[in-house]
Symmetry: C2
Subunit: 321 residues, 2 copies
């Protein structure tokens, strides 16, 4: 099967909203006049962002999910995406699975694949997503203010850090019973982008970022750009039942420096607590208040007994992490 046949068979569907989809030199979109265009691009590399053992359906889901998560963190309404795909060989069953996972998530968010590229090469997926947001209404990293409450989204009854726990199992550092492993593996391989929450937080959150490199590392980006500090109440960070049963050090590593959570970390004025909870309920997502923005620069971690933690975990960095 050649390049053009595989694009046609697995990735070409009639466009509904775009002016022109796959099959020309460019796709053509008709943005809503007056809206700003939010753009983000994430590249997933085998062995780095996913394991070779991942089911193609889940990989297709995740490649799009991590990009939609960036739109969510901006409060943008998703519109469309492109996919560039390098793969060592054409495996039709794998491609069918990838397309299935990709389009299932795309359909759930009513967005369409408008273009891209396929080539031979080491397995690599690069998705670029486009969304819309009214001028001045995008959630940004630079709006956190001293006194704001610090919030994180999470699955109802669950928490953050499960994806990192799953990675530790794959690395052979941790053993889990089968059903526990399946639940954290699901967190790692099938993150749910919090698009509805991002939209509901427009005009309410003062800043937002999605958790991809770990809570502490990602929060640092917000603090740096906003020119503020923060204190995290580490024992208020929500965890799943599975992670709650792990030793304290591992639990903290997973929640604070885990990475791959794709939850929203955001700030809102302290008086807006009821509005934040209402927005989250409307979006069907749980949120927890886990700390406070402070005028004093730097990041402090405090446990449930009021003790400050001495060492801070670092965020994930692809070249030094």
């Amino acid at each position: 099967m050649g390049e053009f046949d595989l694009i046609k068979q697995y990735f070409t569907r009639p466009v509904r909203r775009a002016v022109l989809g796959i099959g020309d030199d460019c796709a053509l979109l008709a943005p809503t006049p007056g809206m700003q265009l939010a753009v983000s691009s994430d590249m997933l590399v085998e062995g780095r962002h996913f394991l070779s053992t991942v089911a193609p359906q889940r990989l297709g889901h995740k490649a799009l999910a991590v990009n939609l998560s960036d739109l969510a963190a901006c409060g943008a309404q998703p519109l469309a995406f492109t996919l560039a795909l390098a793969m060592p060989r054409v495996d039709e069953a794998w491609l069918a699975g990838l397309a299935e996972g990709l389009f299932a998530l795309a359909d759930r968010h009513d967005i369409e694949l408008v273009g891209g590229d396929t080539t031979a090469g080491p397995l690599n997926l690069c998705i670029t997503v486009f969304g819309e947001v009214p001028p001045g209404r995008a959630l940004r990293r630079d709006g956190a203010r001293a006194g704001d409450a610090l919030w994180v989204s999470h699955p109802a009854g669950g928490g953050i850090g499960d994806a990192r726990l799953a990675l530790e199992v794959f690395r052979g550092q941790v053993a889990l019973p089968g059903d526990n492993f399946e639940s954290v593996r699901q967190a790692m391989e099938c993150p749910q982008p919090r698009v509805a929450l991002g939209l509901a937080l427009r005009g309410l959150a003062t800043s937002a970022i999605d958790l991809s490199d770990g809570l502490v590392g990602d929060l640092r980006h917000v603090l740096q750009r906003s020119g503020v500090g923060a204190c995290i109440e580490v024992d208020a960070v929500p965890v799943s039942d599975v992670l709650a049963r792990q030793p304290l050090a591992l639990r903290r590593e997973c929640t604070l420096a885990g990475g791959d959570d794709y939850e929203l970390l955001f700030t809102a004025p302290a008086h807006a607590q009821a509005a934040v909870l209402a927005a989250a309920a409307q979006a069907g997502v749980a949120v927890s208040c886990i700390g406070r923005i402070e005028a004093e620069a730097g990041l402090r971690l405090r446990d449930g007994r009021g003790e400050f933690l001495a060492a801070l975990p670092r965020g994930f960095d692809h070249f030094s992490g």
Copy 2:
């Protein structure tokens, strides 16, 4: 040097036109109200789209050039781009060179890098470009009509096929004197996207495509989408002095199935010849008429003596080429 430092040092420049550039979850663009957005994404893989010997400046140039070439083929005005980059390790001299070549071309087209991603992995560059075009004015592949003249752009005094000839030298199939090699190598490594020509052809060309996979293969895409056939006058296809000195079979292989030319192949009504030449002159690019669109399906190749060629070279395909 970590991921965030290298982004800051090599790829972050203040945005002039975008609302928000690198450093947040998404970039924010403010498209001109009423314009359509043209989007294209191309992925370049080491050993497939470029050799490990290429100078990083030229690689930076080419990665953006092949994407701008897609905007050119749509007649779109370039606006901005994202870059996702996977690389095995951080080599600062290489990164500085890559950024130099990338930004030199970006500056020439007055576009800015607004976002992207960097990660560890086998070398891979994925650029997504954005451009604008008035509604209904984009050049497309599906507008060629029987009777239209078939045109190709090329360097003044040069032709197409040089990039393929350079590849044959790298493959050890062809030997060239040093200065000849340098000139075809330049064609392969530093293609010039025909953005000005694409803009000048709006309302004039009936269809357009950029030459990336070879003249015959790319023309087939136009014929298929337009529901027409064509005849190429193979001896009218412009070639450089260097390629003109090669054996006939190699010359034809390079011009007809060469790939990597990044020239525009376009059609225009036969009566518009003077207007096409004027548009090309305005854009500062040479163009040659190399055939005609015909109602009869299929593609025919005819030489200067009026003989039809029996065998057609195929276009490049990443999985069967």
